[in-house]
């Protein structure tokens, strides 16, 4: 069945609400790759078996990651008229107790993590999801509004993650999905681009380049064909968790791409996904197939003259392919070597045609801007950086997870309020932001906020939002060696300074760790980094010495201790 009008879309919403609010028990089991690793699949089969053997009728939904990575597997139980209850760290043997609680209409108090009486939703703003009819129900369980990890967050991009079945397009539609696309198709492409410019959306991949200006440049460029690329090459060795929002809400990215395609005039989009993310790949492909079947993608989208296809391209496990020109080379079937810029991809990109490349999170922001308007979006965040940011908190932290906060939130809040501080009661030594290309900042987090400019000033980058917390047992020289080795392996080998220079820096650190370091080695490292940074063609080479430089600057004592 192809949807032709806004009315058809409304009908599809009803179908989605049938499973979201089935009039019986709905059980959400987190089933993204991080959940499965901790045994969510075993919990799911125990649940399905238990329901069957007790002849209980319930809607079991395999949802994505709700961001509570530190207490997976998570199970949410939603009984009609009762608050929704989140259970954390569920094991197969806990399932019978959960099922008994469902039968008796009660709650397993010692296992429950939080209760949700009602829920806001970024897109269905005026309709609050009201779960509980009775204000005092389950009062012994903490409300989500009182839980530090959740209350400091602002879920806009992650509005659906963990609540809907990512493989069910109707549930996405029911929660306001594809409304923005229907609205956009009635607008002039220029007006959409103006909205994105007015919203001051900045590219979420790392640089923070204004996305609207990129779109405009690509629209204005001449070419017989235009391409869009969604960059999901999260090769950074700490940011994979972040990618699970593609597993949890693939349609939000897809919707952003179609709106972008209409605004820019592109008929083909490539979603470049790193390999090894088989679940994300499978779910995204299913999202494409479902959207095509409903006429939200493919020929004559929603009855309009606009047509577009989206293709998934699986990468090959190289960090360098996150660089725009290397990514293009990879899609063209070549090895991922960066090319000289200019010409920039917006003029001459994929197959020599104008190409607009944006990070996956940037695309996911687009439906919100169109649906709610640029001034709504503009009001979130700081003066220079608007909107929210998805971060992945990992390393030696009490509560790891995938979180979303407003731009401008202080990093102290992120680490201590949301993350609960350093794991095992240890002290903070440093924090790495923006992956290996970013720097490692010292434990004084005052004045640091989540936005591009303050972090840049502090000598690091926001990057695509990875934050790795390091405790006071961490040996920063070894961390620098680990990160430098990473760059040695990931250098494509095109520019000599990066290929040879970074390798030499690595061997100097090896010598230092082996106890054969000399005082002038530290000066040497500093001096070597300059030509490497200035003479390498792409961002990988330009940032490869950063781990060493930032540890030298902030943790010089660690080096001195080796040299004696």
């Amino acid at each position: 069945m192809k949807l032709q009008t806004a009315k058809d879309l409304h009908k599809a919403k009803e179908q989605g609400n049938k499973t979201l609010f089935p009039g019986k028990v709905r059980i959400n089991v987190g089933m993204s790759s991080c959940c499965i690793a901790k045994g969510a699949d075993l919990v799911l089969s125990a649940l399905e078996y238990g329901l069957k053997s007790r002849a209980m009728d319930a809607e079991v939904a395999k949802v994505g990651c709700s961001g509570l990575c530190h207490m997976e597997p998570t199970v949410e139980i939603q009984q009609p008229g009762k608050p929704k209850i989140i259970y954390g760290n569920v094991k197969g043997q806990d399932v019978p107790r959960l099922l008994e609680a469902i039968t008796s209409g009660s709650v397993v108090e010692d296992m429950a993590f939080a209760r949700i009486d009602s829920e806001d939703h970024a897109l269905v703003g005026e309709i609050k999801y009201q779960y509980s009819d009775d204000a005092g129900a389950y009062a012994s369980i903490k409300s989500v509004n009182d839980i530090d990890f959740l209350k400091a967050q602002h879920k806009v991009i992650l509005r659906n993650a963990g609540s809907i079945n990512p493989e069910n397009i109707y549930e996405y539609i029911a929660r306001g999905g594809y409304d923005a696309l229907a609205k956009a198709l009635l607008m002039k492409p220029e007006a959409i681009i103006k909205d994105v410019i007015d919203a001051e959306l900045r590219g979420r991949g790392g640089g923070g380049f204004p996305a609207g200006l990129k779109w405009k440049a690509c629209r204005d460029a001449t070419g017989t064909e235009k391409y869009l690329i969604c960059n999901v090459s999260e090769g950074e060795p700490d940011i994979g968790m972040h990618l699970s929002f593609l597993e949890s809400d693939p349609h939000s990215v897809l919707e952003g791409l179609v709106i972008g395609g209409y605004a820019i005039g592109a008929k083909t989009a490539y979603v470049y996904l790193r390999n090894n993310y088989r679940i994300a790949l499978k779910r995204f492909q299913k999202a494409i197939d479902d959207a095509t079947e409903l006429g939200l993608l493919g020929d004559k989208i929603l009855g309009s003259p606009f047509s577009m296809t989206v293709k998934v391209k699986e990468g090959g496990g190289r960090y360098i392919c996150g660089e725009e020109t290397a990514l293009i080379a990879c899609i063209e079937g070549h090895i991922g070597e960066p090319a000289q810029r200019p010409p920039f991809p917006v003029e001459k990109g994929l197959f020599g045609m104008p190409t607009c490349i944006n990070n996956v999170e940037t695309w996911a922001n687009v439906p919100l801007i169109i649906a709610k308007g640029s001034s709504w979006y503009n009001a979130i965040g700081t003066q220079k950086t608007k909107g929210t940011k998805v971060l992945s908190l990992s390393g030696n932290i009490s509560r790891s997870g995938m979180i979303e906060v407003d731009m401008g939130t202080s990093i102290k809040d992120v680490v201590y309020t949301i993350g609960g501080g350093v794991a095992d009661g240890k002290k903070l030594k440093g924090i790495q932001t923006g992956g290996p290309s970013g720097g490692i900042l010292p434990s004084n987090l005052d004045n640091l906020t989540v936005d591009y400019d303050t972090l840049k000033k502090a000598g690091s980058i926001l990057g695509s939002g990875g934050m790795v917390i390091m405790d006071d047992e961490t040996d920063m020289v070894k961390v620098a060696r680990y990160l430098t080795n990473f760059f040695v392996q990931e250098s494509c080998g095109k520019c000599v300074p990066c290929r040879e220079g970074v390798c030499r820096m690595g061997s100097i650190i090896d010598e230092i760790i082996a106890g054969r370091g000399k005082a002038h080695d530290l000066t040497l490292l500093q001096e070597m980094s300059e030509p490497i940074m200035s003479a390498s063609a792409c961002a990988l080479g330009k940032t490869a010495p950063t781990p060493i430089l930032s540890t030298l600057k902030h943790f010089r004592d660690d080096y001195i201790a080796y040299i004696k």
């Binding site: 901790k38 940011i239 990468g315 190289r318 899609i331 090895i335 790891s400 990875g466 961490t474 680990y482």
Partner: protein
């Protein structure tokens, strides 16, 4: 272009026939395809052509040095069915931008990229073998050697590296190295940063502790 005689193949005979044709200069390949398949069909006497039939034809009618070269390649031939590659290339197409799709697909089906598969891809797509080799070795996903009967991937992401204070990754590596049946590769972040170190065994990800126990049972 002469018509190839209708012939049914059995086992790896078709793959061997393709290897045989590889030795023929490209311009004459179609002509030889017809002639040679007729000889093999005759040898098989109407039945399906077996591997022995193809080998016999090579021994009888192919001159040296081509004969030794072909027989050597027959021996190197892996235990996969070259027909897989036909289907894969038909599915994706032959242009350069399809190359990685083809290689991914072959690796999914066969488990790795055997040299003869790369050669077959080169023949069928017209992409030079060295280009294919370049791509297959640049991207770390692709394996040119056969993995063990169990394959383990250990996450080397920053978070897993930092939180792995007991050196589990190293212990797992040692365990794998001691076992012939298990092969291992290191990967970038798998997105399971709370499982440090995250370890994938035969397609499913486990927490480090659990993975270590499981690997002990595999070996």
């Amino acid at each position: 272009m002469s018509e190839a005689t209708a012939i049914t193949w059995s086992g790896k005979s078709e793959a061997m026939f393709e290897i045989m044709l590889d030795e023929v200069p490209e311009a004459m390949r179609d002509m030889f395809r017809g002639k040679l398949s007729a000889v093999i069909a005759q040898k098989a006497q109407g039945g399906p052509a077996s591997e022995d039939h193809v080998t016999a034809v090579v021994m009888e009618i192919v001159p040296e040095p081509f004969k030794s070269s072909i027989i050597k390649k027959f021996k190197e031939q892996g235990d996969f069915d070259i027909k897989v590659i036909d289907t894969i290339i038909k599915k994706h197409g032959t242009s350069q931008d399809k190359l990685m799709y083809i290689l991914h697909n072959i690796q999914d089906e066969v488990g790795y990229l055997p040299v003869e598969a790369l050669r077959a891809v080169s023949n069928k797509t017209g992409i030079i073998l060295s280009t294919i080799y370049n791509v297959a070795t640049f991207y770390k996903t692709f394996r040119l050697t056969k993995p063990g009967s169990h394959h383990v991937k250990v996450c080397c992401g920053t978070a897993c590296h930092l939180s792995d204070k007991n050196g589990l990754a190293k212990q797992i590596e040692d365990k794998v190295n001691a076992s012939a049946a298990v092969s291992m590769e290191k990967t970038l972040c798998m997105g399971c940063c709370d499982c440090s170190p995250a370890v994938e065994i035969d397609g499913r990800i486990y927490k480090g502790e659990e993975a270590k126990a499981r690997i002990a049972t595999l070996a």
